[in-house]
Amino acid sequence: MLLNFEYKARNELEKEGRSAAPVYGESEVVCPNCHRTLKESQAESMLMTCICGHHFRIGARKRLGYMTDSGSFTELFSDIESDDPLSFPGYRDKLISAKAKSGENESVITGTAEIGGFPAAVFSMDSLFMMGSMGAAAGEKITLLFEYAAENGLPVVGWTVSGGARMQEGLLSLMQMAKTSAAVRRHSDKGLLYITVLTDPTTGGVTASFAMEGDIILAEPGATVGFAGRRVIEETMRQKLPRGFQTSEFIMEHGFADMVISRIVEKETIASILALHCRRSSDGSL
């Protein structure tokens, strides 16, 4: 066994034997794109996408459930949580409500998993935790993950969702852009693969650091991807921006993503890319 650390199931995803998607009785979701009403179980069976192609936002843990082999995810660094280094007005309360809303204790979860049988270090960000903003704790978890992956010869696959750096931690959050980038570089210098999947939304300081530093950059359809906020640009330029500006399709057209990929075939695509770079864990060769 490659990984050797203490681990106990913290939640559903980590428990053995979960395979079927949960059924939510009669609960329904409405597609914001085509306004269809879908049974949650129907949307679930399509990995929370709509028949029209719309991709619903999903939580970090649900995403890892979709994208990694059943039962393979082992969480790492889960004890790292944000504190309030600047005693910033209202920040403590925001953290408490973010935890309640997302069910997570930070905006990113990190760990190891297998994807189509290929072991990888993985991270997944959560929009329900302060819009996936990066403070010192998130930066530390990403950095530790890249260091762990570099040490263990693992590729990193990461799903980004972020409004950017977390302003409530001031300069310390800005420094996470430098810290995570340096860790990505060290991992890269070992010849190891890093795949990023940009999901809705990926903006600000995360776009300007590890989201755009992947060897291979995938993006989910229709996701907002950019650096500056749309409203800020509209105010600065005093003009309305066209539909489709700062989307996955837009950044691919301009040369900043390798492909736009539907969530439905995302996992097998990632596995195919890993196959070209790595060996399966069952080979026992890692």
């Binding site: 930066g139 530790l144 810290k179 860790a183 300081g205 500006f245």
Partner: protein
């Protein structure tokens, strides 16, 4: 002085700009242009020069003084081409073993349709990735505004010095106030909350030195700065574990023991 007073001071058009510093501190500055990809961004200046008897690469974000100059230089808000010009010059410096000195003064990266189309986020990210492992010493002097990622893209350095009234922040106090309290006029309160002064940055270990602004812009001021910079650069050039130290420097910000 109140934090927001420093923000206003840092923004004064009368303050020394990057080019003022470059012309006063270095000898024989030769300016180079263009990113070899798309264009030449006038918000970023760079080239080669002598720091005393040391050949160096020097790069700065230039705001200009007069309204005409400031408009020409986009008020010191770089487009992706500016960051890519800086990147090109830093790689050139690495090839020829020249230390890099950057002067940072920006309210942030340029905010616009073209900048997004040409990958503003990617441009900043690539600078961070490259600077984190650049084999030559990097010294950054923050002379005015250090606006978020747009400033950091030229400031992933072995040493960061800040002028006494320079500020360094993840977001402008006005932007912070309008998000937090939906009231941009509460910028002064936001400036306090953000801890963006040079003294704050020094206390976090993010800045290494505060440069007194006594006699700012005078020959004596620049002479003092030049002597300090020469000494620092010489020290960094002899450091055989420069890259490890740079890694640990940024690694330490928000480090947890697990």
């Amino acid at each position: 002085m109140e934090a927001y007073e420093r923000v206003k001071t840092a923004r004064l058009s009368s303050r020394p700009t990057a080019l003022d510093c470059i012309h006063s501190i270095f000898k024989g500055f030769i300016e180079f242009h263009g990113d070899r990809r798309h264009g030449d961004d006038k918000a970023v200046v760079g080239g080669i020069a002598w720091l005393g008897d040391i050949p160096v690469t020097v790069i700065g974000i230039e705001k200009g003084h007069t309204t005409a100059e400031r408009m020409e230089r986009s008020f010191g808000a770089p487009e992706p081409e500016g960051y890519r010009k800086a990147l090109r010059l830093m790689k050139q410096a690495e090839k020829f073993s020249r230390p890099v000195i950057t002067f940072v003064d920006t309210s942030g990266a340029y905010c616009g349709v073209g900048a997004e189309k040409r990958g503003q986020g990617q441009a900043i990210a690539e600078n961070l990735l490259t600077m984190s492992a650049l084999k030559v010493p990097v010294l950054t002097i923050l002379i005015g505004e250090g606006g978020s990622g747009g400033a950091l893209a030229l400031a992933l350095a072995d040493r960061l010095w800040m002028l006494e009234n320079a500020v360094y922040s993840v977001i402008s106090p006005e932007g912070c106030a309008s998000i937090l309290w939906r009231d941009g006029s509460k910028a002064a309160e936001a400036a306090d909350a953000l801890h963006l002064t040079a003294a704050d940055a020094l206390s976090f270990g993010i800045a290494d030195r505060i440069i007194s602004e006594e006699g700012i812009g005078t020959e004596d001021f620049y002479a003092r700065l030049k002597d300090d910079m020469s000494g620092e650069i010489r020290g960094l050039m002899e450091d055989s574990s420069l890259l490890e130290r740079r890694y640990q420097r940024f690694r330490s910000f928000g480090r947890r023991t697990t």
